[in-house]
Symmetry: C2
Subunit: 378 residues, 2 copies
Amino acid sequence: MKKSTVPRILIATGLEESDVRYATGLTAPDPFALLIEGPRKHMVVSALEAARARRACPTAMLHTPATLFAKAPSRRPTLAAQVLALLHQLKAQAVTVGPWFPVGVARALEQGGIDVRLVTTPPFPKRAIKTPHEIACIAKSQRAAVAAMRAAIAAIRGAELSASGLLRADGRPLTSQRLKDIIEQTLLARRCTADGTIVAVGPQGARPHDAGSGPLRTNVPVVIDIFPRDKQTGYWGDLTRTVVRGRATPDVRRLFQTVLAAQKQALALVRPGVKSRDVQRAVEEYFTQSGYPTRLTPPGRESGFIHSLGHGVGLDIHESPGLRDEPTRLVAGNVLTVEPGLYLPGLGGIRIEDTVAVTLTGCKLLATCSKKLEYGPG
Amino acid sequence: MKKSTVPRILIATGLEESDVRYATGLTAPDPFALLIEGPRKHMVVSALEAARARRACPTAMLHTPATLFAKAPSRRPTLAAQVLALLHQLKAQAVTVGPWFPVGVARALEQGGIDVRLVTTPPFPKRAIKTPHEIACIAKSQRAAVAAMRAAIAAIRGAELSASGLLRADGRPLTSQRLKDIIEQTLLARRCTADGTIVAVGPQGARPHDAGSGPLRTNVPVVIDIFPRDKQTGYWGDLTRTVVRGRATPDVRRLFQTVLAAQKQALALVRPGVKSRDVQRAVEEYFTQSGYPTRLTPPGRESGFIHSLGHGVGLDIHESPGLRDEPTRLVAGNVLTVEPGLYLPGLGGIRIEDTVAVTLTGCKLLATCSKKLEYGPG
């Protein structure tokens, strides 16, 4: 007896966009749909995207409003109406969808008599296991991040100093924004985009997602977090360093050494078979033992190690598998960040982040970049 | 009797991201939720984002896993669990959600006893009516697009020619990719990002969403479509020109004059009170009368005027109101593109696009840019 196949539908918007790109190679400015029925792929796209879709994914069956409504043309059918028409053509009575599928399309399909079943398994589990080609793409973005980091650190090291300890270059204050400009120009020269680059100065660094602003000054830590995306391939890289122009205080130096040691420990643990949770916990315990317990309240005063240790990197900047409190076991081909950080409100933050690929025996950095704390005279 | 209020929930991911940014000023790398209950706003964010959320939207009530699960801490509650906990705190029994709300969260709320009602009205209809500040933000992005267009056209006009009619600069072929580099460097110097810039050469231009590739050559049309987004404000601009290095063929020149005349007609029609549909139809009729009927099949061979005349521009590159087959009447403060185009498979395409703001009496261009077809010797 033939195994009955329930088609799975994905809508390329927001969080499902990278899944659809992974499966078809196509991205588009407006939502479009991918339907997978056993070995067959169907794409529902606008007439405008038909030629691009055919080139991106020659093996998919292509559907447009003109083909779906050939007999009874509807001038502007919704995407839901198009998907429903396709399901009727395929005589499908049920579909599966993921958690981020749009509820408006789900309800429209239900009204059209389709049983819409929510599943939480990822549609393409292999996305977490990168091919050598994918690892090469991520490594390329990571090398661009290293080049941008070096350009940023060179600007910090080469800056002149004002009497009050502000960094200056070309007769103007060297600001967080100017450093981001240097970083993003370096990335663009390598055909990578970056949005949200972090250059957080002193106390700003205590908020891990604060992008930073204002002038750079001597003797305080600057957190520089660079995450470029290759414009052509769509694969990301992710790199963070924390540096001080001049001399760090003993407190900051100890914080830095603790984070550096934690990253070293974590990198030694990352290998096939290890549980994500165990790497996260090892770092948590090390920080606690070092006298930096984690506090998650009150808002704005979180302190210690307040985020997970790492996240997968691929077509999304945050994807599976992460290094955090979950039982997933790592396998060769996973690509993820290892980014311990310690944050002390008022003082600042230290974060050191590299992107690694899990190998058969451990893990390897996709690009290397110095981990020195102090640069130039203060 | 007090009017009962059904809270509306938005999840900041994909298509709802700009609505949430509009209402709160916050963007974040991971999904977060906005709940609106009458005049009150509630935000559900991770501890990591709490400080940023508070600064972005001081009037919102802020909720994090720590505040929502203070009594019974759950180590990694899902966003749906957090939203459900908030709804229970608020004693809400029903919510409204938009079509792009994730079905996974909707189902989890339903299982928690919440009546999830789908509504198709936009949560913030005022997003379509830009304030003077918003118009200034879009105009800034549009001026960046003009600067980039001028840099691109200068490179085309100044290029040397090979014996076979290929454009060259600095001893190398001038390619679509090199022109995109020039465009995007110009945009980045104005702190705008651009992804998907189109430089489509000859026949590539017949596919409106083909980003283009390969060397530029004389005497064929090049479609240049530049849509920058200001990194700080998030507002877009959108500008297209079609140019020929050397001399256009009589066919291409006639195509260009027809598109230019169509845009002029459309710009004269755009004013408060006019129906979107009437502007779209006027252009369709003009093209048909000029001998360019629209054909939408077969895929890859669409011909004529094959897209809508324009789209709203704001925090999204495609938003309401569009210029297309819909009964919406324009009002002062709408910002939209006017971009007629004609596409002939094998030959190429002509598109001319400006971004305008609807004024009290008509519309005004947000930036001006020459509409010449031919540049330099061929």
